[in-house]
């Protein structure tokens, strides 16, 4: 059954479906209840499931996330919403020191069916403390998984898969995607949660990206096609684990790799991708792996500076063009 939905509606339906199917699923966070969630993801659930299963919390990020950890080891299935990634820094102890470690350090005794949903990314002029990305912070944490749905369909699938999983998962939802639209088939079988999607086939170069930037990369690919450059666009869908097989297969065919990420370049997600694929595809690469990334600058409030601080479609086009040219020399 396919319908056109906004990204937030897809998440909302996924939450509803999981809560309806399993009484042990509950959600909590600031203003997820009566208010319906800052990005409307939990809209309608408070009235339907009551305050115990849709819990408004005080502004206590570390402890309500830790509450999720405790509930998870006691047999419940919590979905914690942290209002934005910027506040998730306050909850890293619960996510990294507790959730990611307990199954291992207990000698495999406990499940950790915890989902942490986090709006993230650079939205519109929210300034330095409200426009961070931090994806890479969650990658260097064994025991934790990180998913980055870019489409309403993936949002629906991956949230349901996350709730169903017994491992702790951080779901990063880009704030500018909540009102993007797409077909959602709620009955179709989803692909594995962490498999990358080839969003567009192409022979000339591979663009690896994720979340909102994957959508920009697709736009860029369309522009490039008009110039005769056929870019293959891979949307990673997951940052931990990363589906390097899909990426490597593509690079081995195209011989060029461009990585597009919104986070700051230095120490960002792209470093790991470039390093891993650079090693794996060393002999098939015709040119250095390139990264188009956010500037290593905090996000300014000023709109023009903000816009120039993260990749835009022309930046991707230009980098792809240069990569394509250099590879032909």
């Amino acid at each position: 059954m396919s319908q056109e939905l906004l990204y937030w509606q897809a998440l909302n339906q996924a939450m509803d479906a999981e809560m309806e199917a399993d009484e042990s699923v509950f959600t909590l966070g600031e203003d997820v209840g009566l208010y319906g969630g800052s990005y409307r993801v939990t809209e309608g659930l408070y009235a339907k499931y009551g305050e115990w299963r849709v819990r408004d919390t005080p502004i206590s990020e570390n402890s309500f996330t830790g509450l999720g950890v405790g509930a998870a080891i006691a047999g419940s299935r919590p979905v914690v919403e942290i209002m934005t990634i910027n506040f998730a820094l306050l909850a890293l102890d619960s996510i990294v020191n507790a959730a990611a470690k307990i199954p291992f350090m207990s000698g495999g005794q406990f499940p950790m069916p915890l989902v942490v949903r986090v709006p993230t990314g650079v939205a519109r002029q929210l300034a330095a403390q409200h426009a961070q990305r931090f994806e890479s912070m969650f990658m260097n944490v064994p025991g934790l998984r990180v998913a980055v749905p870019a489409t309403p369909q993936d949002a629906y699938w991956q949230l349901r898969q996350a709730v169903a999983s017994d491992e702790p998962i951080v779901l990063l939802e880009h704030e500018l995607l909540y009102f993007s639209k797409g077909e959602v088939d709620t009955l179709a079988d989803p692909p594995p949660m962490h498999r990358a999607a080839v969003r567009r086939a192409g022979r000339d170069l591979t663009i690896v990206s994720y979340s909102r930037m994957a959508m920009l990369a697709l736009e860029a690919a369309n522009t490039l096609a008009k110039e005769g450059i056929e870019a293959e666009v891979i949307d990673l869908r997951s940052l931990s684990p990363i589906d390097f097989d899909t990426c490597a297969a593509s690079v081995d065919r195209t011989h060029r790799l461009l990585i597009v990420e919104e986070d700051g370049k230095f120490g960002g997600v792209g470093g790991e991708i470039a390093a891993s694929l650079g090693e794996r595809c060393f002999f098939s690469l015709d040119a250095p792996v390139r990264r188009v990334a956010g500037l290593d600058l905090p996000i300014a409030y000023n709109g023009a500076i903000e816009a120039a601080s993260i990749p835009r479609v022309p930046d991707i086009v230009e980098a792809a063009r240069a990569l394509h040219k250099s590879a032909q020399q």
């Binding site: 600031e30 203003d31 009566l34 208010y35 800052s38 408004d56 919390t57 005080p58 502004i59 206590s60 990020e61 570390n62 402890s63 910027n86 506040f87 306050l90 519109r124 002029q125 929210l126 300034a127 330095a128 403390q129 409200h130 600058l297 905090p298 300014a300 409030y301 000023n302 709109g303 023009a304 500076i305 120039a308 601080s309």
Partner: protein, 350 residues
Amino acid sequence: MQRETLHRLLRDMMLSRVFEERAAEEYTKGNIVGFLHLYPGEEAVGVGVITAATPSDYIVSTYREHGHALARGVPARQVMAELFGRATGMSGGMGGSMHMFDRERRFMGGYAIVGETCPIAIGVAYSVMLKNLPEAVICFMGDGAVNQGTFHESLNMAGLWRLPILFVCENNHYAIGTEIHRHSAVPEVHKRVAAYNIPAEKIDGMDVLKVHAAAKAALDHIRRGGGRQFIECETYRYRGHSMADAGAYRPAVEVKAYQAIDPLSITIRNLELKYPTASELAKVGTDNIGKLTAHMLSEGHVEHEEIEALKQEVQKAVDDAVAFALDSAQPTMDDAWRHLTCNRHREILI
């Protein structure tokens, strides 16, 4: 209280109100973008407290700080220009609504992470102690911020080391859509402060005179070496949490009830009151209200025309601020990089 002070309180409150309503308009026009948290309804708190500070005191504020900056004497032009993201703004257009700084006026910033003002403010206070100066630090926070771990941790250190700091809780009963009874096990904030050995009291935050007096007493005490104080100011915001919020979670009767005790109207009404004569007063005795009335009487009260003049002055200042902001240049990428590396001086890194 000096007639001058009374006028200043009134003027600052009016300025804050008019400024904020204009900011809302400019937001609708698209001149201001992002999160915009407005202050109408709460002016008596910021104005009452900040007018009690001396220039050598420090202020640490939240994302709802335009009124605070104005009361601190930052020209409306610079505040508005920051909202417009211009190079002439308080923070050069880098910070916007939630991050206004003015080092010269010891306005140590607006912070957008709930609860973050507490650790930063105790740090400023710690520095004052190290320098052994008669200065006080004012730390603002909302009722929602009280549940953040940093509130607890920081107040404990402030109490333990008797730091020169005045904590001001702007209790407007809501953390975005969550009412205080639904976020705090003990909704009387000042009672929670007993856990930290910090003298605390609750003040009517709709009454600027009471706020001002309490803050003044506390700050004087602190500057004399008495250490940490806490005031909870009960107040109300008339608008939604930010421009993105319609505030639909609040019953209309509640909003209306608080609008009936608008701190601006109350101040004006108080100042306009025809007071009894001194001899009449003496007969009444020195009860609380009498004391205040007597005091105000001795200072004189304002005429209706003066209020009109103030209104016009304030309106002009805000119009001028908008014109200034619109006229101001945008910051450049070079400015941004320069701000990032502002502390590098001539240091060779590598």
